[in-house]
């Protein structure tokens, strides 16, 4: 399965697709990017006259790249259809402003009995950590 096949299989579309590109993907992890376009609707309200990307959307971006893309890759031969987000433990270190490009790097901790748990990090273009932590989901 190549990178484009994985993008095609993602169950999201605009305005809730937070994956632009998969840079690399293996059995052990994935690296991908997303640009937060300044015209995204939520910037109008988060915050008033002070657009900053909501932390929940940073987690969503980490999950779409770090869990869902990797989950699609790992479960290719298993005829599984759905992935459910089951837990997150994330710390935030830096804000993300409109038009920033972020890179998500996810390392598989384990994939067993349908549960994928990963150590995930998001960095900005200066390679500074934006947020780090662990995410898990069930692939069924």
């Amino acid at each position: 399965m190549n990178k484009q096949d994985i993008l095609n299989k993602l169950p999201y579309s605009k305005p809730f697709l937070f994956v632009d590109e998969i840079i690399s993907i293996t059995e052990n992890g994935v690296k991908g990017t997303f640009i937060f376009n300044e015209n995204l609707d939520f910037y109008k309200g988060h915050f008033k006259n002070n657009p900053i990307t909501p932390g929940v959307l940073l987690i969503e971006t980490m999950a779409q790249i770090g869990l869902v893309c990797l989950g699609i890759y790992l479960s290719e031969s298993e005829k599984k259809e759905n992935i459910a987000f089951t837990s997150s433990e994330i710390e935030f270190l830096k804000p993300v402003f409109p038009n920033e490009k972020v890179t998500v790097i996810s390392e598989k901790l384990y994939y067993r009995f349908g549960k994928l748990k990963c150590k995930v990090k998001m960095i900005n273009e200066n390679k500074e950590a934006i947020c780090t932590g662990t995410l898990a989901g069930m692939i069924t």
Binding site: T86, S87, Y110, R112, F113, G114, K115, A136, G137, M138
Partner: protein, 84 residues
């Protein structure tokens, strides 16, 4: 290993994931991890991984699917220990 000894070793593994303390206090053979203790399926995976480590056994997919209550879990642990 006796059933009682297995249950004693099992309790601290299960406890961090329990959402119904009352049912955990009154644990019986038929206590179901999901319906009685309100543990979700993702945490059930962590319990099984912790059981593998604590008992030095390996659980296969088929056994995992049966490990939904205390009685079945103890039986599977005993079977895996006996096979070593």
């Amino acid at each position: 290993m006796t059933k009682e000894a297995i249950i004693e070793k099992l309790k601290p593994i299960v406890q961090p994931f329990v959402k119904n303390e009352e049912a955990f206090k009154n644990l019986t053979d038929t206590t179901d991890f999901i319906t009685d203790l309100n543990i979700n399926s993702a945490n059930l995976v962590d319990i099984v991984l912790d059981i593998e480590e604590a008992f030095h056994i390996e659980i296969d997919n088929e056994s995992m699917e049966k490990m939904l209550n205390v009685e079945n879990t103890v039986a599977i642990i005993q079977k895996k220990l006996a096979a070593q």
